[in-house]
């Protein structure tokens, strides 16, 4: 299908545990409470990864499993009921989300059934999402939560005028989802709702006759659930990351609704024009994605359009069907820019990647924090990948933010380069 090259390595790579999705989801869904059912390890990760958020009385907590829970001396049902009642009393949320972890998988705790029972007793909806490190990486955690949420959306009934409705899925900061809604409105496409909304009660109606479109590349499970369980029609589009992606995303949606987009090319060109100063910094520079958050294909496609050369796109998991349009656009972009296709490496091996980085000496490595400082010490410029998940990067308005992130290390090193200390590791194997 593509001329792109795909490879699969050992899966020995560094990424965040998918339970980290509570960090942005509890903020997005403001009347929710997330309960992570796991061990000290899960708690320690959240505590350290979320840093200062911990101190702000977050709406999430750990249900920490003790030896009695593991050896089934304590009844899961009683224990969970006790904790949920406590949360209900202290925080009174509109929805509880249970995050299943590796441990609940291994001891085969039947969360779905227990949730059903407890839900009826305490009169509070309980969603179960198995966001564990056995099956998923980092942002895929959000995918598991949203696909659990799909089941709770109200039923959609086709209105008299037979007009289809559009629901957009993917958790974005409210400001960004409003911006995207506006962009579509300008074209005459009305967004009936977002999954998720800022309140649990506002979940959009779903059913046949509803078109759905994703904003993030890691939502393949949610897309499948929407299609199979709620009979929605999926609009497969590239993702609205970068002006090229945003334009392609809007065009695809317009096409489905039989609308001729207006002024879209103009809008895109204007955005590119505004980026001039950044583009001169990145042009002809090379990038290496080590891969940890599934945004890699979209970001690489955008950076290639910016004039960069991408050596390798590492990615934890690639759903070729869900990302088909994005992969198409990537290929098209490479051809138009006249640069070789990057190698796409699924389940990468970080050790091998470091050997390749050593050989290729890219101008920029986009990687997790575990490798950033060691690479910097060897004179390799890095950008911390997790920032792309937390920054606002979607739509026309936020393109500048992506390039701000990408060029920050380049600009910093431009400022410091006269000093001649770019390599600071003793054991300099690079």
């Amino acid at each position: 299908m593509f001329d792109l090259k795909f490879e699969c390595e050992t899966g020995n790579y560094h990424t965040f545990c998918p339970i980290s999705c509570v960090a942005w989801l509890y903020q997005k869904i403001s009347d929710s409470f997330f309960l992570v059912i796991g061990t000290k390890t899960c708690g320690y990760f959240l505590q350290n990864a979320l840093g200062v958020m911990i101190f702000a009385e977050p709406r999430y907590a750990m249900a920490e499993l003790e030896e009695g829970d593991i050896s089934a001396q304590l009844k899961d049902y009683d224990e969970l009921k006790k904790l949920c009642l406590q949360i209900q009393k202290n925080r009174n949320p509109s929805v509880l989300v249970w995050i299943g972890t590796c441990t609940t998988e291994i001891i085969k705790m039947d969360l779905e059934n227990i949730a059903l029972k407890i839900e009826t007793i305490i009169g509070l909806p309980i969603l179960v999402a198995r966001a564990n490190g056995l099956d998923y990486a980092f942002t895929q955690g959000e995918d598991t939560v949203l696909s659990a949420m799909v089941h709770r959306c109200p039923e959609y009934f086709l209105p008299q005028n037979q007009q289809s409705s559009l629901v957009v899925f993917g958790s974005l900061p409210s400001l960004v989802s409003q911006q995207l809604t506006k962009e579509l409105e300008i074209q005459g496409v009305n967004v009936a709702g977002w999954l998720p909304e800022t309140h649990y009660e506002e979940l959009p109606a779903l059913g046949s006759g509803v078109y759905v479109c994703g904003v993030n590349p890691f939502l393949s499970r949610t897309a499948t659930t929407l299609m199979r369980r709620r009979k929605c029609q999926l609009i497969g589009a590239p993702f609205p990351i970068g002006p090229d992606g945003t334009r392609a995303w809007i065009e695809k949606i317009c096409q489905v609704f039989n609308i001729q987009p207006k002024n879209l090319a103009q809008r895109e060109n204007q955005i590119w024009k505004n980026l001039k100063e950044y583009l001169s910094l990145v042009k002809n520079r090379s990038v290496f994605f080590m891969g940890d958050n599934l945004l890699e294909i979209s970001l690489a496609r955008f950076l290639i359009r910016c004039g960069m050369i991408v050596y390798e796109i590492g990615i934890p998991y690639l759903d070729k069907r869900f990302q088909a349009s994005e992969l198409n656009l990537l290929e098209k972009t490479c051809n138009e820019q006249g640069i070789p296709m990057p190698l796409i490496v699924e389940k990468p091996d970080n050790y091998n990647q470091i050997q390749r980085i050593r050989a290729l000496k890219p101008d920029l490595v986009i990687t997790g924090l575990a490798h950033s400082n060691p690479l910097e010490a060897r004179g390799i410029i890095t950008k911390w990948s997790v920032e792309f998940t937390f920054a606002q990067i979607h739509g026309f308005t936020n393109v500048r933010d992506i390039l701000e992130l990408v060029t920050r290390p380049l600009r910093r090193n431009n400022n410091l380069k006269e000093l001649g200390w770019s390599e600071l590791a003793l054991n300099n194997r690079f």
Binding site: G11, N12, H14, T15, F16, C17, P18, I19, I37, T39, K40, T41, G43, Y44, F45, Q47, N48, A49, I54, F55, A61, M62, A63, E64, L65, E66, E67, D69, L74, D76, E79, L80, K82, L83, T101, C102, T103, I106, I107, N132, G133, L134, D135, Y136, A137, F138, Y351, I354, G368, L369, A370, H371, S372, N373, P374, A377, L424, A425, L426, N427
Partner: protein
């Protein structure tokens, strides 16, 4: 199951990883699901480490659940053996993988057949011990492994020498403390034989026995190793922490007595005895400024100020004693989260504080802080944040810590320079004495309206405008406390409307 938002000590494998990756050329393989290698981020970020953290995961995924790890762990061990050529590979289970009950010991045995490096399985139970206990145990385990293995050379060094046990990665000010201990030992004419585990080579561990005795600066980690060495190789150890002037002096005395003692045992009587009392006196009165500082009139204002101390056993106990004995400050509550060491802690702080608190629950400490309203807190990052919410200053004296506690400049907590640093920390945590008085006299710097952040809920109390005006005259840093106290008083006496008179009554009631 228990509801938890925050923990003071991490899971067991973190302790194992901290010890193992402190050694030179030791690689750790975690038997863990994807995402459990968060330790690498901590080390790379907090320590600003320039090298790749020698920790990899042998990933537990669905296939492992279905079929067992089978060859996967062994393969990962031999791949690392070839790639990195480490001296030792430590295999550690995690909370998750330990439930699988795979025979990891057997994997270790089988991997040994094909690798050139030594291999060891970390012996820690993830549901019974925490980070601190696991680190202690792993250190003992690695030392014992190499001492059992080698043909042992028990010949002692000619000059008195010691091993320092328990300096390692992600420790609270460990690097600075280590330098300070070295300085003290150099002054006392004692050589350092080995530092364990930081940058120590496992192949050299047999040299441990050349030292005359061992020094364990922090009792959380290193004590088990020291006890093992005492039991099996008759090496005595000193586990007192040289923190604060009094304990530093005591530490020096014990070290010197032990040297004398060992001299006679080893027949090294030709080594001249140093006059350590003279040294202590000199250092205390003239080199360190802390003793003079606490006598200077500026420090008078600290007399009887109320503080609360919380942290690991070593730091919380030492800090409590410094505040009370060396500064004349009142400690209303001293606590630790090291529940496994509770008895020792109680014994140490008994008589120095009004209340002893042993807990791992941060909300309990938060409540006690808001109840006592101390003038300053000395605790961990968690207490610092509680202090922020209550407008109470906090000096951080113990892990858990953030990146800002990994300082670039020289900041020991131990020894004579440490005493200076602690004195500064204590002094700067309180509002400066003169400022305190001036604020009281002139009614504060700011004329902003009353800040409403507080822990207690406001249940329909009405503040009369004259009372609000009066409240605004009170210096900003005590205003909230006065407001809370007044409201507490009003609630107790069922007063709805707070007038200026009620405020005064509340103050009087509090004073009595």
């Amino acid at each position: 199951m228990k509801l938890a938002y925050w923990m003071y000590a991490g899971p067991a494998h973190i302790g194992t990883l901290r010890v193992a990756s402190s050694f030179k050329n030791v690689h750790t393989i975690m038997h863990a699901p994807l995402g459990d290698d968060y330790f690498n981020v901590m080390r790379s970020m907090l320590e600003r480490e320039r090298d790749f953290t020698p920790v990899t995961a042998s990933i537990v995924d669905r296939h492992v659940l279905a079929k067992g790890s089978q060859k996967k762990v062994i393969e990962n061990i031999s791949i690392k053996d070839q790639q990195e050529k480490p001296d030792l590979i430590v295999l550690t289970p995690t909370c998750t993988s330990s439930i699988l009950q795979e025979d990891l010991q057997n994997f270790v045995k089988r991997a040994k057949l094909t690798t050139r490096s030594d291999i060891l399985l970390a012996d820690v139970n993830h549901y019974r011990v925490n980070e601190i206990q696991a680190a202690d145990r792993t250190l003992e385990q690695i030392i014992a492994f190499y001492l059992d293995k080698q043909s042992l050379n028990c010949e002692k060094t000619k000059k008195p020498s010691v091993n320092i046990i328990g300096i390692f990665t992600l420790g609270f000010h460990h690097q600075h403390d280590f330098r300070e201990i070295c300085r003290l030992l150099k002054d006392l004419n004692i050589e350092i034989n080995q530092i364990i585990p930081e940058k120590c080579c496992v192949q050299n561990l047999k040299e441990i026995l050349k030292a005359w005795f061992n020094i364990v600066p922090y009792r959380e980690i290193g004590l088990m190793a020291a006890q093992y060495l005492e039991k099996n190789f008759q090496m005595p150890y000193i586990s007192i922490t040289p923190m604060g002037l009094i304990d530093t002096a005591e530490w020096i005395r014990q070290v010197c007595h032990l040297v004398e003692n060992q001299k006679t045992i080893f027949n090294c009587t030709n080594i001249k005895q140093i006059n350590f009392e003279k040294y202590i006196d000199q250092q205390t009165r003239f080199i360190s400024q802390a003793a003079w500082f606490s006598r200077s009139i500026d420090a008078q204002n600290l007399t009887g100020k109320k503080t609360l101390v919380f942290g690991d056993a070593t730091h919380a106990a030492a800090m409590t004693k410094i505040l009370v004995r060396e500064m004349g400050i009142n400690v209303c509550c001293a606590g630790t989260y090291c529940q496994h060491d509770a008895d020792w802690f109680r014994e140490q702080v008994q008589g120095f504080c009004d209340r002893i608190l042993i807990t791992e629950d941060h909300t309990q400490i938060g409540n006690i802080i808001s109840q006592y309203e101390p003038a300053a807190i000395f605790g961990t990052q968690m207490e610092r944040h509680v202090g922020k919410r209550l407008d109470i200053p906090c000096g951080v004296i113990s892990a858990p810590i953030h990146i800002q506690n990994f300082l670039l400049s020289y900041r020991p907590f131990l020894g004579y320079e440490g005493a200076n640093q602690i004195a500064d920390l204590i002094y700067n945590s309180f509002t400066l004495g003169m400022e305190d008085h001036l604020l009281e006299i002139f009614g504060g710097h700011d004329v902003k309206t009353v800040i409403t952040k507080e822990l207690l809920t406001d249940d329909n109390l009405i503040w009369q405008s004259s009372a609000i005006n009066e409240l605004q005259k009170i210096p900003g840093f005590v205003r909230n406390r006065i407001k809370r106290n007044t409201e507490k008083f009003a609630r107790l006496n069922q007063i709805q409307k707070i007038t200026v008179e009620v405020m005064y009554e509340a103050k009087e009631a509090l004073a009595s």
